[in-house]
Structures are given as C-alpha cells and as structure tokens.
C-alpha cells in the first residue's frame, strides 16, 4: 500500500493506483476529457492535471501512479488556471456551434467547458478544414475532433482494424483514416465503436431521419418500421427514462405517435432466421465431410464486412441466411404487401437498429430481392429514433404501452436474445435440438454460451453427436479466434460472431454515455425478457409457422432461398 495526501486528506491505496483513481476513493473527482479507463490513458488533453508538492510542473492524474508520501492538490490556483487554459485552447480548434450539434447535451467538451465556467474564449478560432464523404454511413467531422485519440485506440486495441491514426505532423496534426487512405478503402467494418467512444460529435452516423420524415409525409407511402432486439434495451437512455420503464411497448407507442403505419418487431425475422440458419446448419452437418468448418453466423453486417476484407477465402463458411433486418425487409415487401393487398412499391420500410453497419447492409445492391427497390429503405440507429422522438416533443414519461401490429410483430424469447453476444447461437441450438429430436430442450439447456468474455466456447450433445461451438464479440477477439481456427489450434462446428463487444447490446448505433460500457446491463435486460417470454423457441412463433404455411413453404425452400438467403461474396464494400 502507498500512503499519500490529496487535498489535505490522507489515504492508503494499492501500488500502481493512479492519482485520479486514488482521488476518486476520497470522492474527489478530477475533470478529464480524453481519458478512458484501460483504453486511452495517454494524457493528451492535459485537463486532468494536478499539482504534486515539490514539483513545479503539473502532472496528469489519469496515467501517473501514486508514490509514497506524495502530496497532491487537485484544485490549486495553478491547476485551475492551467486546466481552464487547456480547455480554452481545445475549444479554439473545435467547431463549438453547439446549437446545431448532434451531441449537444451529451458532449464531454461542452460539459467541461460549462463546468469550468468558460463563457468567453480569449483565443482566436483556428478550425481545420477537411472533406469527408457525407454519403458514407460513418461521418467524421474534422472540425469537431479534439484529438483525444480514443477512436484510434478503440479501433486498434479492441477491433484490431487500425482504421484511424494520427495524420499530418506539427501544428496540423489531426486524426484521420490511417495510412493516408480514404475511409472507403480502409476496410472499416462500420461497427461504430469509434462513434460511441467519441467524447464529441467528431464521429457520428449518417443522419437519415429526413428521408423518414419525407416518407411519413408522403400520402401514398405505407410506412413500416421494425425494431431490432437490442434497441428495446437502450432506447430510453437518451431520453432519461428508467430502464424498467423504457419497454419496447412504449417505444411502439412513440412510433405510432410519430406516424408510422405499421410497427413490427425484428424479432419475427430473427425467429425466421433461426428456422433458415438452423436448417442450413443441420443440412451442412448432414454433409459434414464435404463442408468447410465451422459455419459462421451471418446476421452482423460489421462481421460480414470484416470477413470480406480480412479473410475473404472464408466467406463461403458464412451461413447464407440473411440477417433478420434483411429477411424482414424482403418479407415486408412480398408476403406482407400481399396480406395488405397493396402494391409493394408503396411500402417504405424503415428499421431501427443499434448499429451503423446496418445502414450499409440495407444499401447493398443485391439486398433488393422483393423487387421493389431496396428491401429496407432506411435504417435509423437507436440514437436517431431518439432524436425523432425528441423532435416530435413526445413526452416519453407519459407514454402508455402499446402492442406491435400483427403478424410481423410477433417474436419469441429466442429472438430477443439476438441482441446479446451468444444469443443467436443459443436460439439456434434450441431450435436445432428440436429439429433433430422432434422435442424441445429445456430453454436454458444451452446457457453455457452466455457470458461477457470476448471469446467463449462450449460443447453440447445434439442427439448423440458432439457439437463444439464458439462465440466471439469484438473484432479483435474475432481475429484471434479465426487465426486459431486457421492455424489448427481451435476447431468448431458453429461459430457466432458479433462485431461489437457484447453484441448488438453494445452496438455502435446505441445511445452514448461517455465513459460507460453499457453492453452488460443491456444484455441483462434482453436475457430477462427471454426468461419471462411465453414462447422461447423460434420454431414455436405462430406468425413464423403461418408465414411458412401460407407463403414460404418450408425452410430452405426455393422461395426462402430467393428472399431470405444471400451470397455475401457479392456484397460490394
């Protein structure tokens, strides 16, 4: 233990504790900006500086360890003045037109500037100019970047794609796509983790809300919206709602108020995915010798982009099943148009996703199997739908719960856990067991696949045959797993990959709370919903059963293949 004094209070802390952490133990909170625990401890913004007795220059508290007898002051005149100056300097290079900023009210720079009482900046504005492709699903706003380097760190350390790097040198140093590439050629998976770890709005999703407003305002358009599983665990965060209050049924109510004609659940399509993907897996298993193993899940477009750029020789190991979003889109403009008895061209299909890569996926040119334009017309992130709710001045606290429309609003507990890492695997195993044995397993029989570790594995007995599965979330973990498969160190039958740590619950389109990783609590919500669900097996979803009876025939039928399967190799990047 190390004994030290902070602001005249004595404390003993373990060796290697940082000054900032030691101060927190005394409830002394040191302002900081670039710092992110374990991820970005580089002391770039110089806001968390403190004074150490006997040392004339100030010291960053985020990445310097305590030492015996150290006497620290976190709020001396020198600290206050220097900290404020540093924030003013950062502001002089930041487009601080907060009124037109997507992160206004949820911006660490705005917060610290307000907290420090900066009402005037003595420094001349000197904002860098650079161009970005505004059609790309991921937007970088150079004028708002404060060079905290967090995006570089998350992409390097967690996702392992090294999309971002410092660019230029000297006074013009900025953060940009690494190696002087354009973003389109940088193998970005579009996971959006850089967005959710950005302290300002230097990184954000392409805002597509205007296209939705336009459709809502077009008389002839029938607007159909689907809500992804993980959205229900997070949408209330940006609106200040308690987690237990922000149910999906209240989100349904909000969407009705906005004016969507039909409000459906991606869970329906997730159950459909299990039918197709589970059947495909069993089919491949029946032809084990001639197949390449493992089979990979295919519902995460960040992962599909990743494998397409990083391990293109393994793309045919992906399940050909489309993601629930795209299955839903194809069904909405065929089966559902038929049920409504309308021309599918009138249907405008919107999805609400915890994801930025879904914007890309919906735009892939072959994702138009229904024959009426893109199967999904617009993808909104959870953040964008929250902004629409705010724009409509809907008071979410006053919302009553409302039901989804039928039949595409029906989903099972197996579908809702798609939003958590391991969920797709668990849902698939539940139904695969049924498809092989003809009877249902205990719904929690496969709970070994749950967890928060980035790479997990489990083995099960499936009607006498041993099944080895693995789950990875986060692309850095994914790369490790794939390298192990390629080197022969690991071998599996079925592998689920999610690009974002924790799966869609931690998706790059989810609400942002700076400094907090919320995937875990959101996953708990999803598993809780599964536990209390009446139906916990995808093959028991009555609307799915009916859809097969009336329209698709059977899993892997010719129509299923046309509408619900894809060749990911043909996806343009």
């Amino acid at each position: 233990m190390v004994k030290l004094t902070i602001n005249n209070q004595e404390i003993s802390v373990p060796e290697h504790t940082t000054i900032m952490e030691a101060a927190e133990m005394l409830n002394i909170f040191i302002p900081n900006l670039c710092y992110l625990k374990d991820l970005n401890e580089i002391g770039a913004c110089r806001v968390c500086v403190v004074e150490v007795e006997g040392v004339s220059r100030l010291v960053t508290s985020c990445n310097n360890a305590v030492s015996e007898g150290m006497v620290v002051t976190t709020n001396s005149p020198k600290v206050r003045a220097s900290r404020k100056t540093n924030v003013e300097l950062i502001l002089s290079q930041h487009d601080a037109r907060c009124a037109t900023c997507v992160r206004s009210g949820n911006c660490s720079l705005q917060e610290i500037s307000n907290d420090l009482g900066i009402i005037d900046n003595p420094y001349k504005e000197n904002i860098p100019l650079a161009h970005w492709n505004d059609d790309f699903p991921l937007i970088r706003d150079y004028e708002k970047c404060i060079k905290c380097m967090r995006c570089i760190e998350i992409c390097d350390k967690i996702q392992g794609l090294n999309v971002w790097d410092m660019s230029k040198t000297g006074s013009r140093t900025t953060v940009d796509v690494s190696h002087n590439r354009r973003i389109e050629e940088a193998d970005c998976a579009l996971c959006g983790q850089c967005i959710t770890h950005c302290p300002t709005a230097a990184l954000r999703e392409r805002d597509d809300t205007d296209r939705v407003y336009e459709a809502l305002g077009t008389k002839d358009k029938i607007t159909i919206v689907q809500i992804a599983p993980a959205v229900r665990a997070a949408w209330g965060e940006d609106l200040g709602l308690p987690r237990e209050f922000a149910t999906v049924k209240r989100l349904v109510a909000a969407l009705r108020k906005i004016g969507f004609d039909y409000i459906f659940d991606t869970n329906f399509a997730a159950d459909l995915t299990i039918m197709e993907e589970g059947s495909e897996f069993l089919q491949r298993l029946g032809d084990k010798e001639n197949q390449k193993w493992p089979m990979f899940t295919s519902c995460c477009p960040g992962w599909v982009r990743f494998i397409n750029t990083q391990y293109s020789d393994m793309v045919d190991q992906l399940s050909t099943a489309k993601s629930p979003q795209q299955m839903f889109g194809a069904i909405a403009k065929t089966y559902y148009a038929r049920l409504l008895g309308v021309d599918p061209d009138r249907i405008f299909s919107v999805s609400i996703m915890p994801c930025t890569a879904k914007k890309y996926e919906a735009g892939v040119s072959v994702m138009a199997d229904a024959g009426s334009g893109q199967d999904v017309d617009v993808v909104l992130t959870t953040r964008e739908i929250d902004r629409m709710i705010r724009a409509e001045k809907i008071n979410p606290a006053l919302l009553e719960e409302e039901e989804f429309d039928t039949p595409l609003g029906e989903g099972t507990g197996a579908a809702v856990i798609f939003g958590a890492t391991g969920g797709v695997m668990e849902a698939a195993l539940r139904s695969a067991y049924y498809l092989v044995t003809g009877e249902n397993p205990d719904p929690d029989a496969f709970e070994d696949v749950r967890g928060r570790e980035g790479w997990r594995e489990a083995s099960f007995d499936l009607a006498g045959s041993k099944l080895k599965v693995a789950i990875a979330s986060g692309l850095g973990n994914t790369r490790r797993l794939i390298e192990a498969i390629r080197s022969g160190e690991a071998s599996y039958d079925f592998v689920e990959i999610m690009a974002c740590p924790g799966g869609c619950a931690g998706g790059g389109g989810q609400p942002i709370e700076d400094g907090k990783e919320l995937a875990g609590v959101r996953m708990d919500v999803l598993y809780g919903l599964d536990t209390v669900a009446d139906l916990r097996f995808s093959h028991e979803n009555p609307s799915v059963i009916k859809c097969y009876e009336d329209f698709l025939g059977a899993p892997l039928s010719a129509r299923s293949h046309k509408l619900l399967h894809t060749n990911q190799k043909s996806w343009e990047l």
Partner: protein, 610 residues
C-alpha cells in the same frame, strides 16, 4: 564623450544566447518523421527574423515565402503556388546582398528539390505523407531496439540483474555493448532539449558490472530443428542465442581458434578485456550451442554439405580481409595491415613491435586501435597519417584523444605518396604530401595537394588501416549472390530464391558497428524461426518501474573517465573507468522516460515482445 567603449551584452542578448543554445540542442533531438515542409517553413521564418532589413528580397521575400509555404501546408495551394515559391526563392537567392538572405532562399530551393513528393502530396492530394512513428528516440535509433528507458529505470532502482535481463531480450551481448557500443541511441536523446544526452552506454556497463551472474532464460521446448551458424562473431552469436532459446538445435562453425569475430580479432583488449568477452560468450553457449572451431567453409567442409545437413543456415562471416592502397613501393617488406596486427593480437601472438618506429595510414577507429596497441607493444614512435583534418576522422573523438594521450602522433592533412626502402627491400620511410582542405561536394570536404614538396618520415613498419573487405568467394562459388564481395541479403536477412539460407552482419552491409551486427542476428533469428514454421515469442517478465514524477532540472552528463595515460600505455588493462554508484544514480535519474511522457505512451512506444 568617450571615443571608444567596451561592448557589454545586455540581459536580452544574454538570454538570446541561451535560447540559441537551446535551439541547437532541440534540433539535435529532432525526431524523425516530421513534415519537411513544415520544418522548412519554420526555418525560413527564423531566418526572416535574422534579416537586417536593408535589402528588399530578404526583408520582404522571406516573409512571402513563409506565407506561400503555409498555403501549401494548409491545402490552399496549387501547383502554380509551387512555381511562385521557386521563382521567389530564386530571386531572393540571386539578389540578396548577404548570406542571411541567399542562404535562407537556398534552403527553400533545396527543399523544393528534396521534398518534391511531399509538396505534391500536400498540393494535389491535401495530405502529408510524413508520420511520426518513432516515439522513443533511443529505442528507435538502436538497431536492435533495446528498451533503453526500461533498463535505465531499473538501474535507478538498483535492479541491475533485471536490467540485464531486459537488455538481453533484444541484445544478448550487454557486457560487450556496455564497453564498446557506438551508442547511436544517444544521438537524438530528448534530454538534449534540456542539457545533454544520457550516457546510455556507461549506464549499461554499470548495470552489467553490478548485476552479478545473470543466467540465461529457460529454453523453450525442443523443436528438433537444426540450424548452422557460419561465423561466431556478434551477429552469429546473437542469432545462435535467440534460435537456441526458441528450442532449436544450433551449431556454430568458426574459422578461427576462438569465437568472438571482430570483438576478439578487431577490438583491442584494453577496450574489451578478454575475460569479459569470454564470460559473455560462455553465457550464450550455456544454452547448449555446439561450436566447431577452425572450420573453414569451402575448405574443411562445403557450404553445400552444411545446407544439406541443417534445416536453416545463417551466414555471418564478417569483414575480415584488409583493403590495399595503391602506392608506389607497396611490395616492400615491413608493410602490414591493421587486420593482421589485430588478429595476431587477438590470438595472443607476438607482434614484434618493440622499439620500432610505426606509421599507420587511416583515420578510423581501427587505425586508432592499431596505434594504441603498438604503443602497448613498446613501439618507440607511433604516427597516424591521415589525409583530411583530425576533425574529419571517422574514429570516435575519444579514441583519437586516447591515442594522442598515449603518445601517438596524428599527422593530419598528409597523403602517402611513396615508400622508401633500404638495400634489403625493407621499408625505411614514407614520403607524404601535405594537403589543404578543399571544397565540400556533399558532406565531407575533399583534400587536395598543397603547393609544397613531399616530405620523408622515417619508419620501420607501415600499417594500412584503410578498411576491411569480405571473404565471400567460397560462398559465391556455391551460388550465394554477392556484390562487391558483400553477400546480397534482403532486409529480412533471407537470400532471394534460396529458402532457408540467411545472411547478416558485416558480410552483408560491410564493416559496421557491433550493434548492427547484433540486430542482424536478431532479425535472422526471428525470420528463421518463422521459416521453420514457428512463432516463438521472445519476451521477459521484468516489470518496468513507474516513472518518477519530478522536475527535470538541467544537470551535466556524467562522462566516462580514462585511466592515466602514462600508466595505461604499458598494459592491456581496461582503459575506461566505470561509473561510480553515485554517478550512475544521478545519470539514470536524468532519463526523461520517453516511454511514458510523450508519444511513447500512445503510439510507437515499447515493444514488449518479438
């Protein structure tokens, strides 16, 4: 009114003098990878501040050039801006009255030529191709990438054995390097910005000498793969060490009686005592490396046979032949090469120099080594003839000073002309021609004959120390590609189209430093391991201490002192004194810990394993 007055400097001028020194040292420690246009723009801006203001091109033109360069940097320029920059710089160059103006303009003109690609990237594509990726100057300038801040921090905590372990992760010859490394790590040390670079080599020596015996790490499980190392010098020993650690069976084939290569046959004992060299080699061999001495490849065994018998081969034969100079009378008796003398000395043979009058031709470290060895062998008079100025010598300054202190004379600005011999064809003297130093076509001035007569200096023995060559013939015969006697290896040490055969060290890049040879051995080890289908990781469990939080108050650098010349000249004991504990503690505390403070904490910092 006084007619004359004494010029005194005022406070501002005194301060500026300090700032000039600060700036000089700052430039010394400038990290690689900065945008050259940005740097040039700031140099021109400084030059503009130096203008007296009398002449318009300098007074106005330099400012315009700064603005135009800023436009380029801001992405606002077109290719016509570049034309304007060139036109303006040319006018300032042609028309400025004094060097303040025309030399500043010349910088810009040279930049336009030298940074052509950078200009085009900035102007046409709005991007800068420069990138700072070497955050820790000492580590990035060490060819072997030794973790300098790490081991200095360990030294300051008294953890000398850990320091040695950490060094061995990248360099298995810490004792050797503590004594004779040319320390490129010190060149751009960021401590220069405050006062002076850290004495890194001295600290390394201190760690090694105070660590006691540090056993080698445990070997990884045996792979059953066999590797032949041809040449037991620093490069071969380094490759052998790491490959052996990785679990491979390594055998060294050495041509001479003993291992060590140039460490034994080039570097005199008074710089690297044999017992220290032997201890270090024995530590490496303690991994179970087999050694075959006095085996000459091509004579005792064919290279082909070695290639067949082993899974991989590393050729590290060094550069051990002498180079000749074309001088009238060179067939005379009494002429020998530095390589011969140092080899004999390395094997402990008698040199027969006592009472003789020796002349050495050359200006490198080898010339100094021979000169100082000759003094220790009792030579009566030792003179070093060098055609440029003493300051132009490639020998380290301390080596030259050491030689002079030991009674060697430097005859600089003389070129050998003709050898004088007696009736028995023994050398009796050397005619030398005085030179004057001349123009600087590139980096070093070229000497030319002075308008004087040659003079004769008497001598009994002439030693040529004008460079070494590589004995690569027997390898060339067996298909190894060679250019100007150097073996052609790729930057990853492999040889094109000959899988499993690697080469490195002096035999590839010509006579260079021990640390470059070590680095080549390390690179070869990593790539041979990969070639054999493995990915063994070399790392250490040594935990590096947290950096000290303290102000960095200017403090002199501890330099190494030598034993008294009059005493050391008559023995082969180590010339250099070690640092005292007090000195080592002060010196290690000067380290700025660039691994933690600055870019090193973020990117391009510590490499924990390889």
């Amino acid at each position: 009114m006084s007619r004359l007055r004494i010029i005194t400097s005022n406070k501002a001028q005194e301060t500026i003098e300090f700032l000039y020194k600060d700036l000089e040292r700052r430039i010394v420690s400038s990290p690689p990878g900065l945008c050259p246009i940005d740097l040039m723009a700031s140099f021109v801006k400084m030059s503009h501040a130096q203008t007296c203001g009398k002449c318009s091109p300098c007074r106005i033109g330099l400012g315009q050039l700064v603005d135009l360069l800023e436009e380029v940097l801001d992405g606002k320029a077109t290719m016509s801006t570049l034309d304007l920059i060139e036109k303006t710089a040319s006018a300032v160059y042609y028309t400025s009255d004094c060097a303040i103006g025309y030399e500043a303009a010349d910088m810009v003109l040279r930049g336009i030529e030298g940074f052509k690609e950078d200009f085009e990237e900035h102007i046409l594509r709005g991007r800068c191709v420069a990138a700072l990726d070497q955050a820790i100057p000492c580590i990035s300038l060490c060819p072997a990438g030794v973790d300098v801040p790490g081991y200095i921090a360990l030294i300051s905590e008294g953890r000398y054995a850990d320091a040695v372990k950490l060094i061995r992760k990248d360099n298995p010859l810490p004792a050797v390097c503590g004594l004779i490394c040319e320390h490129p790590c010190e060149v751009r040390c960021r401590r220069n910005m405050i006062d002076d670079s850290i004495n890194i080599r001295g600290l390394k020596r201190f760690a090694v000498e105070n660590a006691g015996y540090v056993p080698v790490p445990e070997k990884m499980p045996a792979t059953g793969k066999t590797i032949a190392i041809i040449g037991g010098g620093p490069s071969g020993l380094s490759a052998a060490y790491y490959l052996s650690l990785m679990g491979h069976d390594v055998e060294i084939f050495e041509k001479r009686k003993h291992l060590g290569g140039m460490l034994r046959y080039g570097i005199p004992r008074y710089r690297l005592p044999r017992e220290i060299l032997d201890d270090e080699i024995n530590t490496i061999l303690s991994l179970g490396i087999k050694v075959h001495k006095e085996i000459d490849i091509g004579k005792d065994i064919t290279f082909k046979k070695i290639k067949e018998d082993f899974d991989a081969v590393y050729i590290a034969i060094g550069a051990h032949t002498d180079k000749k100079i074309n001088i009238e009378g060179h067939e005379t008796k009494g002429i020998t090469s530095a390589v011969d003398i140092l080899r004999k000395s390395g094997d402990g043979e008698a040199l027969d120099l006592e009472g003789k009058n020796i002349v050495i031709i050359g200006g490198g470290n080898v010339a100094m080594d021979v000169a100082r060895t000759a003094r220790r062998e009792g030579a009566d008079k030792v003179r070093v003839v060098y055609r440029r100025r003493q300051v132009d010598m490639t020998a380290l300054e301390e080596e030259v000073e050491g030689a002079i202190a030991e009674g060697c004379e430097i005859l600089d600005l003389y070129t050998p002309r003709k050898i004088e011999k007696d009736e028995n064809s023994n050398i009796s003297g050397l005619w030398i021609q005085s030179q004057i130093i001349g123009r600087i076509p590139f980096d070093r001035p070229v000497p030319v004959d002075a308008d004087t007569e040659s003079i004769l200096i008497p001598c009994d023995q002439l030693v040529l120390a004008v460079g070494q060559g590589i004995e690569s013939k027997s390898f060339e015969k067996e298909g190894i590609p060679v250019t100007q006697d150097a073996i052609m290896a790729e930057e990853w040490s492999g040889i094109e189209n000959i899988p499993g055969v690697y080469a490195g060290g002096d035999c590839v890049f010509g006579p260079a430093t021990v640390i470059r040879a070590i680095a080549a051995g390390k690179v070869a080890a990593a790539n041979i391991d990969e070639y054999l289908g493995y990915h063994h990781v070399i790392e250490t469990d040594v935990e590096i201490p947290e950096p000290r939080i303290a102000d960095r108050i200017p403090c002199g650098r501890v330099n190494m002192r030598d034993r008294q010349a009059s005493e050391r000249v008559s023995d082969y004991e180590l010339v250099e004194f070690p640092m005292s504990l007090e000195e080592a503690m002060q010196e290690s505390s000067r380290c700025l810990r660039c691994d933690h403070f600055g870019l090193g904490v973020f990117k391009g910092g510590r490499v924990e394993k390889w």
